[in-house]
Assembly symmetry: C2
Homo-oligomer: 125 residues x 2
DNA sequence: TTACACATATGTAAATATCATATAGTATAA
DNA sequence: TTATACTATATGATATTTACATATGTGTAA
């Protein structure tokens, strides 16, 4: 039983994609270098991903360890300084393989949809 | 770094869907009652899911706890007895909500695909 | 000087997934 | 009759990922 909404799902995010934020972050960064706090907004606006703040920062540091992004502190006149992230070549490569991996996932989901429609023709997706 | 194949993914199953086996199992059971060992084959053949054996049995027991399936031992002349699973009404209801949850997930993936194609028009999915 | 938005970060626990191993019944070939 | 393989279910231990809570500090505006 889900603690947050009381529904029958054990975890809130049932059917969610493992580590989906990572390709999302890389795609955003491949347009413009950015920092954590800003990415948090962009992930929700542009990617439909509500990310836990703490998780986001930890993910960014982990991605830096993996060599997919690089960071530098940048001065901020009107507020605390920011750690600005840039995507690397390795990061772009990972993004591409992640996308094809997700493409396979997508096919798997649709395979389930097809079987579901076959078994329950009257049900909506 | 993935231990099994040496690729850059931290886990082998990058981009996989959280607890995807569960709706798959329920869909299979809604056609015919079945047992673990047989489901293992069917999940691979019909759903493209390679499931860890131990994980499968634990998942089935967990699903029974949740009231989505029921089990009974059935005699097997040509081998060890089998625990045969049947889907319940609650199980079918969960299947339906899981499918609509996955439908949302699918939209989220495609949103990423669209942005990816926009940013990298020459790349293949 | 208080409150609030911005900004980054860590501690801890829960949920899931992975890998290895245990146990036992039946069949069959040496 | 022994060894081997296949069928069948199950648990122990660990790793990974996610979720929730909390800490800390800067700048701005009331």
């Amino acid at each position: 039983m889900c603690k947050t909404c009381g529904c029958s799902f054990r975890s809130r995010n049932f059917g969610g994609i493992e580590r989906f934020v990572e390709p999302c972050i890389l795609l955003l960064l491949s347009k413009n270098p950015s920092h954590g706090y800003s990415l948090m907004d962009d992930l929700e606006k542009h990617c439909g991903e509500k990310v836990d703040v703490g998780n986001l920062y930890r993910t960014l540091r982990r991605m830096e360890m993996d060599g997919w992004v690089e960071s530098d502190w940048s001065k901020n006149e009107s507020g605390p300084d920011r750690r600005t992230y840039t995507v690397t070549e390795d990061g772009l490569e990972f993004l591409k393989s992640a996308v094809s991996s997700l493409s396979r996932t997508d096919k798997t989901i649709h395979r389930l949809f097809d079987r579901f429609k076959e078994t329950f023709p009257s049900e909506q997706l």
